[in-house]
Amino acid sequence: MGSYLVRRFLLMVLTLFGMSILIFVMLRLVPGNIADILVDASGADPRDKARIARELGIDRPIAEQYVSWIGGLSRGDLGFAYVSERPAIEEIAPRIPISAKLAAMAVVISVVLGVPFGVISAVKQNSSLDYFLRVISLSGLSLPSFWLGLLVLMAAVHWFGTIPIFDSNSRGFWDEVGMLALPALTVGFRSSALIMRLTRSSMLEVLRQDYVRTARSKGASNASVNYDHALRNALLPVVTIIGIEAAFLVGGLIVTETVFNIPGVARFLVEAILWRDYPIVQNLVMLIAFVVVMVNFLVDMAYMALDPRIKFAD
């Protein structure tokens, strides 16, 4: 177990190192840089470009820029954002909790809805309830999030005469929950549909296993068979999907953050890409990569807890 963890840790470091090179190079392969955009978009004198590029250090060789970035990262210095001209950490840090809270709420909603309904759907296979839940889950997967988000906002205006406008100066926990509830529900609905369908198919597969039949023949109750024997085993692929979804939700909610006007990581990242704000993009992508790698690691650990037969060999 100990050497597995060491190997796993080294693999994580290697993955992040590879990611850092990839994002650094790819970003610079995209046409245009911040100096081009600042000058061209405002119609300023093209001769200003060279001066701005020099000031920002983007005229230096790529390798030198990379070493400077990695060196800074190792010291906890993320550099200066080109657009806001503030330390990148001050720009990034306030947005992480916003996206993290939204992602956490969405994951909770998706698990709370997806797993139980998936189990019910499997246990009541081919019943009218099963068909109903399958239609709901299919709609969750097929409705585009921008459309669903707008629909939710229109409904809020129609029924409550208001929409949640994000305010970073919220007045406490419930205020924040109120602000994030609608977007979390919208995202959670989609994720729960995925989890529900996976839970259902995984449960159906497990329910057909010999040991389940044996449990039934030994006189175990339906509840005991379904929840004690089947669900635990059926959850392995579901946990993987929950992990992937959680990682995606931290940095991939661009549409939801835009429609609900939440100043989170995803919207900020897209804008930073459009502005070629390298320090912001590099550091944010690295952060998202780190989250994905960590979540994968935690999912692997969760396997062990769910299925004692799984051992990570040294």
Binding site: G32, D40, L150, T162, D167, S168, N261
Partner: protein, 533 residues
């Protein structure tokens, strides 16, 4: 004594009857506005977008300003701000301002003539790099005729011009001409600017909000009426408008409500005050005359003759857009040629059939026809307001055997691409900051301008542009402007499809908002705005 009291009472009564609005304004409250995108910075001098002017103009003052009580920006409607008065010397080459005394910057430092000098030294490119208070300068062209800024004590400043230029004062009156503080570094001006204006900047949270609060030491005593202005940055238009309909915002972003959306807004908020006004932003056709086969004047002429301007207007603006030549047409525009002259220009004939037949003949003469179409790429900025007219253009060009393919270009490289001339045909939008021929002609049509995207070069037009710029007689200048407009249209310099019209809406409790009709960039000081609640 009794008669004196009676006289006093009568005077008070007369005053109240004569000026009732002065008593109507109520102080206090926060105006809540929606903003369409993240402003690139807060430094007006470094940017060229309404996204910066609308929220940040309230932080600053100009020397002179377009009268906020007048709908039309014109040389006749210029009022003092940080200057108390101004005068020209005998040959109109020196413009001297007497400055207001006792004005303080928001950080408490006094405003003096040195601030005016360093602002315009930087703008004209006279300041050394390390002394410049701006990092980039989109309007350097405006001040090409400014030779020197001289101070005479702390409260007098003289602009020395190379030749007479009546538009110079007009350019100083626009939203793009605030006075900057010499002692504030450019980096600070981009994020938390210091001004002398009616509102102080509190916070600019990117992607989230902008907050301004009342400047209690404002030199114009009694103003502003509002305690604060809060902007929420909401990039999605549907969300912005839902926010307005639900009462989260008191006012929409400028011209944010299109005509199809206006019906929705009025349906869900019937008491909303909505006003349509021209934005002085034109949709125009760029034809790169340096590239074959567009170096053939017949092909350029055919393209213009094939344009169905009413179709653009109906599809994109439900018929509300305006038709004009290079300058915004009257009565909204101050300088544009009269409507009855338009049909004399190439492409404006009401006889569409005849124009189309002529265009087809010209194309055949150039060697193209139904069996041998001309295949081109129509480049445009990859955002809806550019793409939509480009698609209509491609459709219309089919009638003259031109098969266009849409080439959507990312915003970040669009301007560089057209500036390099790296395109064949383009669909473009051009906003004019100030409705003045100098601003428009020197920027978009003068041979040496970087923003002369269609690479139009005509020494005769250059001479005429210089001549109208120096002309003091306004009526004579107008006639020269119309002559230039005609040449530009006939030469297919940059054919104008139409002038856009947009709607801005606000809650009826918002008062003191007056939208100016020939520029969206100049009327956002907000010192007249107040809330009736």
């Amino acid at each position: 004594m009794r008669s004196r009291l009676a006289l006093l009472a009568a005077s008070c009564a007369a005053f109240m009857m004569a000026a009732p609005p002065a008593f109507a304004q109520k102080s206090g409250g926060t105006l809540r506005m929606s903003h369409r995108d993240n402003p690139p910075s807060a430094s007006i001098h470094e940017e060229s977008t309404i996204s910066v002017n609308q929220p940040f103009m309230a932080v600053f003052n100009n020397l002179v300003f377009f009268d906020p009580k007048q709908k039309v920006n014109s040389p006749d409607h210029i009022v003092p701000e940080l200057a108390e008065s101004w005068s020209y010397n005998a040959d109109n080459t020196q413009l001297t301002f007497k400055l207001r005394q006792g004005v303080k910057w928001h950080d408490g430092k006094p405003f003096t003539s040195a601030d005016v000098k360093c602002t315009w030294d930087s703008l004209a490119g006279h300041a050394p790099e390390d002394k410049s208070i701006i990092r980039k300068n989109p309007r350097k062209l405006w001040y090409a005729n400014l030779k020197e800024v001289k101070t005479n004590g702390d409260f007098e400043v003289t602009f020395v011009l190379g030749r007479p230029q009546p538009s110079f004062l007009t350019m100083l009156a626009g939203g793009y001409s605030p006075v900057y503080a010499c002692h504030v570094p450019d980096r600070v001006m981009r994020s938390k600017p210091i001004g002398t204006g009616p509102f102080k900047m509190v916070d600019f949270k990117r992607n989230e909000s902008i907050k301004l609060v009342k400047n209690p030491d404002y030199w114009n005593k009694g103003k502003p009426y509002l305690d604060a202005i809060e902007w929420k940055i909401v990039p999605n238009r549907s969300t912005r408008l839902l926010g307005f309909q639900s009462g989260e915002f008191d006012m929409t972003f400028d011209s944010d409500v299109t005509f199809p959306l206006l019906k929705d807004v009025k349906a869900s908020k019937p008491d909303a005050v909505c006003e349509a006004r021209p934005t002085n932003v034109s949709s125009n056709l760029l034809v790169n005359r340096d590239k074959e086969p567009f170096n053939n004047p017949d092909i350029r002429k055919a393209m213009v003759l094939a344009l169905d301007l009413p179709a653009f207007n109906e599809i994109l603006f439900q018929g509300h857009a305006l038709y004009g030549a290079a300058m915004l047409p009257p009565p909204d525009g101050f300088w544009g040629m009269p409507k009855d002259m338009l049909p004399t220009l190439l492409g404006y004939s009401p006889d569409r059939k005849k124009s189309l037949a002529e265009a087809q003949e010209l194309m055949k003469k150039a060697g193209y026809g139904p069996d041998k179409p001309l295949k081109i790429k129509v480049a445009t900025r990859n955002i809806a307001i550019y793409r939509d007219p480009a698609v209509i253009l491609i459709d219309q060009l089919k009638q003259i055997y031109i098969e266009g393919e849409l080439d959507p270009i990312d915003t970040t490289v669009w301007y560089a691409k057209v500036q390099r001339g790296d395109y064949q045909v383009g669909m473009n939008l051009t906003g004019v900051g100030i409705d003045d021929p100098d601003v428009n002609f020197y920027e978009n049509y003068f041979s040496t301008s970087d923003r002369n995207y269609s690479r139009y070069k005509n020494p005769e037009v250059d001479k005429l542009i210089d001549a109208q710029s120096a002309e003091q007689d306004r009526e004579k200048r107008k006639k020269m402007v119309w002559q230039i407009e005609k040449i530009l249209a006939d030469d297919v310099a940059r054919p104008i499809m139409n002038y856009n019209v947009g709607n801005t809406c606000w809650d009826p409790k918002v008062k003191g908002i007056l939208l100016q009709v020939n520029s969206i960039y100049n009327g956002w000081r907000f010192d007249e705005a107040w809330l009736d609640k």
